[in-house]
């Protein structure tokens, strides 16, 4: 698969306009609150939502293919921007509640409107996105500006007609799910039943009905009776894509728990526990930290789960609890640097992972704006870079290599010159096509497969 740069887009600046804004290749200068914190395609791939540290959501829409400009087929342009969350202050604890968007999840589309859930540390919101491209004209009682007409000037009646207007995208908050979490929400997942969703924080998972905001059901609670005994937290969770009763959650100790909601109301007892025994030869004081799972994703087929820990991505078969079926090294050269990475806190970075549409390729981010892809069938992997310098529009991405001593080829980067401030934590893969979205700090990169945009 050869990847080309489809479009380089900076996130839109702080404005709450709802009109569609275009701009291929537009860049905004770096603002700290513009750091992208989540990226998510909708179910068709037509829309791409990003959330940032400033509480804003920017939605991109894929342009329909046009015969006039064959090269610009399928580029993503800004569709809508809105402020999802504002900073809050918890007066009881004298703490700020960040407005940073932790996760966005799209709801399956059921009518002309699109809906998505966005969450910060504490509050989940349901947003409805609608388009308006017509408006009625020719009212009898009001004039064009909406002012009441002088009735004496009205001599005949007319039927208002719908006339086309410039496309306006309106975003409204439909539900606010607040006060459900004491701890920081790290994931949300919409159930396949399209009626419920779950939200997980460090110690608890709640089940909500999309239409009910004043009540939620607690389905997992791992808070110990004595907080002194706390040694493990929930790091990520997701519903099974097909079975509405199954969900998985990962822990900071590197284990996965598959739970069945039919078994009991409180799913503290897992149905399956997926855990790989520790490799004694690699044991160090950092073993536990690097085994902490930062992301878990079901495959589209529902047969496998993908997990990301600090140094590897692993594919688990739902039917096998003892060990993953595949393990891929993301950046094993960091294994000897764990102490430095612990000191500068990089060891706590939470990388996400993603499947492609056919579950044949998996992707995850790394440092130095590198991201990695692993082909499960050919067992080949590639390292690519998301940076302005190496990504001119329509350019072909060049594979990168990190050298760990020994022979050094031209263009190789040595481990010591990796930039650990440039981390790619959030990546997303189009549900059906080979289009990927990479968030590199406050820049969004979208890459497309040049050869063919069908899944292979």
């Amino acid at each position: 698969m050869i990847l080309i740069v489809s479009a380089k887009l900076g996130t839109a600046s702080r404005d709450k306009g709802t009109a569609a804004q275009g701009g291929k290749g537009s860049f905004i200068s770096a603002i700290p609150s513009d750091i992208i914190s989540t990226v998510e395609f909708n179910h068709t791939g037509e829309l791409l939502a990003t959330g940032d540290k400033g509480g804003r959501v920017v939605i991109f829409q894929r342009e329909p293919e046009s015969k006039n400009e064959p090269y610009s087929q399928g580029e993503y342009n800004v569709y809508s921007t809105f402020q999802s969350h504002e900073p809050e202050f918890d007066y009881l604890k004298s703490l700020e509640i960040e407005e940073k968007i932790n996760k966005i999840k799209w709801l399956p589309q059921q009518n002309a409107a699109h809906s998505l859930l966005s969450t910060n540390d504490k509050t989940i919101k349901l947003w409805k996105i609608t388009e308006r491209d017509k408006r009625p004209e020719g009212y009898n009682l009001k004039d064009e500006e909406g002012k009441l007409k002088d009735l004496s000037t009205v001599t005949s009646l007319q039927v208002p007609v719908l006339k086309p207007m410039d496309l306006m995208v309106e975003v409204t908050p439909r539900r606010i799910f607040a006060n459900g979490h004491t701890y920081h929400v790290n994931s949300i997942s919409v159930n396949s039943d399209c009626e419920t969703y779950m939200s997980a924080d460090d110690l608890r998972i709640n089940l909500w009905h999309l239409a009910i905001t004043d009540r939620s059901f607690n389905i997992v609670d791992i808070k110990p009776a004595n907080m002194e005994d706390l040694t493990e937290v929930i790091t990520a969770s997701e519903f099974h894509p097909h079975h509405c009763n199954l969900f998985v959650y990962s822990s900071s100790k590197g284990s996965l728990r598959l739970c069945d909601m039919r078994a009991s109301a409180l799913c503290d007892k897992h149905s399956k526990l997926y855990e790989e025994p520790e490799d004694p030869s690699n044991r160090s004081f950092f073993s536990e930290i690097i085994s902490s799972v930062s992301d878990v994703k079901f495959s589209h087929s529902g047969r496998y789960m993908l997990t990301r820990d600090y140094l590897t991505v692993k594919v688990w078969d739902l039917n096998m609890e003892t060990k993953p079926v595949e393990t891929y090294q993301v950046h094993d050269y960091l294994r000897s640097k764990l102490c430095s990475l612990y000191e500068n806190d990089c060891i706590f970075d939470k990388f996400e992972c993603a499947w492609n549409g056919s579950d044949s390729v998996i992707m995850t981010g790394a440092y130095n704006n590198f991201f990695r892809m692993f082909d499960r069938n050919t067992k080949r992997d590639v390292t690519l870079e998301a940076s302005r310098e190496s990504s001119k529009p329509r350019a072909i991405l060049k594979p990168r290599r990190v050298c760990v001593g020994g022979k050094r080829r031209k263009d190789d980067i040595s481990v010591d010159s990796l930039d650990f401030t440039k981390k790619i934590l959030h990546t997303a893969w189009h549900p059906t096509e080979n289009i990927i979205a990479i968030a590199a700090t406050n820049n969004l990169y979208i890459f497309q497969d040049k050869v063919n945009s069908e899944m292979h």
């Binding site: 004491t182 030869s281 536990e288 764990l338 806190d345 706590f348």
Partner: protein, 266 residues
Amino acid sequence: MFLTPVVPQWPFYKLDTMFVRGLKRKCFDGEEDIEGTLAGIKAIPSYNLQRQSLLDMSLVKLQLCHMLVEPNLCRSVLIANTVRQIQEEMTQDGTWQMINTQSTGQTSLDRLVSTDILCRSSREQAEGKQVPGYSNFNKDFEDDQTQDSSETMSTASSVQAPRNLQSNVWEMENPQENRGNFQKSLDQIFETLENKSPNSVEDLFSEVDNSYYDLDTMLTGMMSNTKMGHCDGLETFSSPTTTTSNSNCKSDLNELDHIVEILVES
């Protein structure tokens, strides 16, 4: 107590390999049997120093995670688990006992008692098995409960001085009593993480209006109130750098009160 951030004097990459291979080295290299003699300690001072450095770094991280925004619980839990691991290893290989033999004249019984405390789970401790050394420590603790947190470290150290180990080696500055109360302190970190409210010592002792709290906050708040008396927190080691760093953080003193001082003194 505000820990001195330790700057190791060796390049980090060495530190990394040492840590990664640390466990292995101990197993395979007979000469480096720490259970042995003084010579044993001298043979691999670097591993112990590195481990100590990691321990101190971790403790600093736990303290520093008290910020305006609620700290990341996952990170705190992982750091705390690392600290426990180090502590367990240091107890198991007897390093810490060894160190105490050299520097103090305390009876071995007390030392064994303290080690026992470290190895016990917090639940057992809560069940209240009274241990001589520990109970003395506790008692002294309560005496200091009313000590104002904004008092200078000199006051605090003078209180603790009689029981401090007379040692100049920095890694042995952790007095035995501190170690003994280590587990307890570690546990309090989580309570601190839970209970973020007061910024002054007075608040600690003021009445908590439970009606405003949800169950979680209330439970931990109550627990913190009973245990947090010793949070006068600025005991120090006799390390020159500690004073400077603490004076720089004078404004954070009140916050530090509520941060569990890791090396608790009374």
